[in-house]
Subunit: 305 residues, 2 copies
Amino acid sequence: MSASASQDQRIAVIGLGSMGFGMATSLKKTGFAVTGCDVSTDAVARFVKDGGAGAKTPAEAAKDADVVVSVVVNAAQTEAVLFGKDGAAETMPKDSVFISSATMDPDVARRLAKQLEATGRHYLDAPISGGAQRAAQGELTILASGSAAAFSKARPALDAMAAKLYELGDAAGQGAAFKMINQLLAGVHIAAASEAIAFAAKQGLDISKVYEVITASAGNSWMFENRMPHVLDGDYTPRSAVEIFVKDLGIIQDMARTARFPVPVSAAALQMFLMTSAAGMGRDDDASVARMYAQVTGVKLPGDK
Amino acid sequence: MSASASQDQRIAVIGLGSMGFGMATSLKKTGFAVTGCDVSTDAVARFVKDGGAGAKTPAEAAKDADVVVSVVVNAAQTEAVLFGKDGAAETMPKDSVFISSATMDPDVARRLAKQLEATGRHYLDAPISGGAQRAAQGELTILASGSAAAFSKARPALDAMAAKLYELGDAAGQGAAFKMINQLLAGVHIAAASEAIAFAAKQGLDISKVYEVITASAGNSWMFENRMPHVLDGDYTPRSAVEIFVKDLGIIQDMARTARFPVPVSAAALQMFLMTSAAGMGRDDDASVARMYAQVTGVKLPGDK
C-alpha cells in the first residue's frame, strides 16, 4: 500500500505498551494519521511528542477512525476497550474495522466479533507475534481471520504492521485458535528448556556447552535458543513475563476442558509457570522458570549470589 | 585422517541395525578394515556381501581390533556386548578402545568404563545423533567423553563417522549426560507437537496450515518440524520408534529421582509415550503419539479410515 493511499485512513491505536507504541509508530511512519490512547498519560504524551495525536479514551480515539487497532493484553481488556465505558464501539464510524491483537480464547473472539458486527462495524481477529523491536519496524507476524470486508478495510494497516500476514479464515476465532496452538507449544518449550538446563546444571554439566550442543541438535526449539541465553547471563529483566504464559496456558486448559480434550503436557508446563509466579517471579522474564527449578533444588545458576 | 593412516587400524562394529550398518559402511569407505557382527546373521551376510568381514560373536569381532564400535540400543545390550558370554572384553587387545554409542544413564557409562579400564583397555562414552542416512555418510553428531588415551585411539574412527564431534570431558558419563539432556527435550517436544497438532485438528484447524504457521513462529521446535510431516502424511513407518522415548524418558526419570530433582514436564511426556505404546503403537514411528491423542479424542487425522 503506497503512502498516499494510506494517508486517506485515520487509525486509532488503543494500548501504547511496548508492542502498541511500536505498532503506532510504524503506522505513523507509513503515512497514516494515528491517534494513540492508553491508560498511562505518560505513554500518550510520549506518542504526541513523537508527532502523533493523543486521546483520553478509546471512544475519543475511535471517533472518525477508519481502523481501530487494539493492543491490550487479554480478552477482558479488549472487551473493555470496545464495549466498556467510553469504549471504542460508542464512536466507531459505520463500516470501520476493529483489529484485535490480544491473545484470547477463540470463543471470546467470536463473541466480540458478533457483538460488534451487529452494529455495522467489522472485526478482525488478528493476534500478533514478534517483539517490541519488530513491532516498531512494522515486521510483526499477524495471524488474522475475519470477513472479507474486515480484511479489505484493515489491509493497508496490516501491510504497514506486518512482515508476514497469515490469512486464516473468513470468521473471527480462527486467528485466535492458531495463536493458541503456538502458545501451547511456546509455553511447553520454555518449561522444558528450563527443566533441561537446570537438570543439566544439577548433573554438573557446563550449561554454556549444553546451550552449544542443544542448539545444534534435535533437542532444539525456537524458545530454547531464544530464552536460555537469559539463564546463561543470569538476566531476568522481563522481555516477556511469566504471567503471559500463566494466562495463555490457562486459556489452553479452559479450551481443552470445554472440548473434552486432555492436554497433559501443557498442563504440566502451566504448573511450572504457576510455581514460578507463586515464588514471586510472575513479572520477571519467562526464563525465570529455570531459576525456580534451580532455587527449589539448590542448583547454582549464573547470577546467583 | 587420511585413508592410508586409517588403513593401519582394524575396527569391529557390533550391531548392524540401520545405524550400525551405516557406520560400518562409512568406516569401510574411509579405508579401515571393518569386521561386522550382529545377532542377525542376515545383517552380517549383507555386510560381507558389501565387501566387509563378518564375525559370529563380539569376542570374535574384537580379536585383534584396535577399535570396537558398539551400536546397540541400550545399556543392557552394551554390557552384554562387552562382558557377556563371548563378549568383546574377552578378546580386545590391550590398549584398544571401546566406543559405546548407546544412549544410557551416565552412571552406567561410568561403571562400564571403570570395569573395562581396569583391564588395560580404553572406553569412550560416545552417544550419537542423526539418522541412518547420516550414519552411512559419516555425518553423525557424536557427543563424546573419555580419557585422552581413549580419544587418541578412537579419533580416526570418530573422524570417519562424525560431521560434528563434541569433546565433552575427560571421563565417561559426560557424553551420556549431554545426550540425556537432548533426549529430555526431544521427547517433550515430540509429545508437545503431538498434543498441539491433535488439539488443532480438534479445534477444526487445517493442520497443514498449522504446520506452515508454527514452523515460521516462536512455537517451532526441531522435532515439530521433523516429525509432524509424518502426521500430515498419515505415515507412521518407524524412522524412530515410540519405544526409544519410553526408554530414554524413563532413564531421565530414574536419573532425576536419584538426584532428587523433580522433572514434571518430561514426566508428563513419558506418560504419553507409554500410553501410545500401551495402545499398541510402541514399534511405530514416534509421531504416533499424535495418532494416540486423536484416537482417544475421536479426532480424524490424515490416513484414518
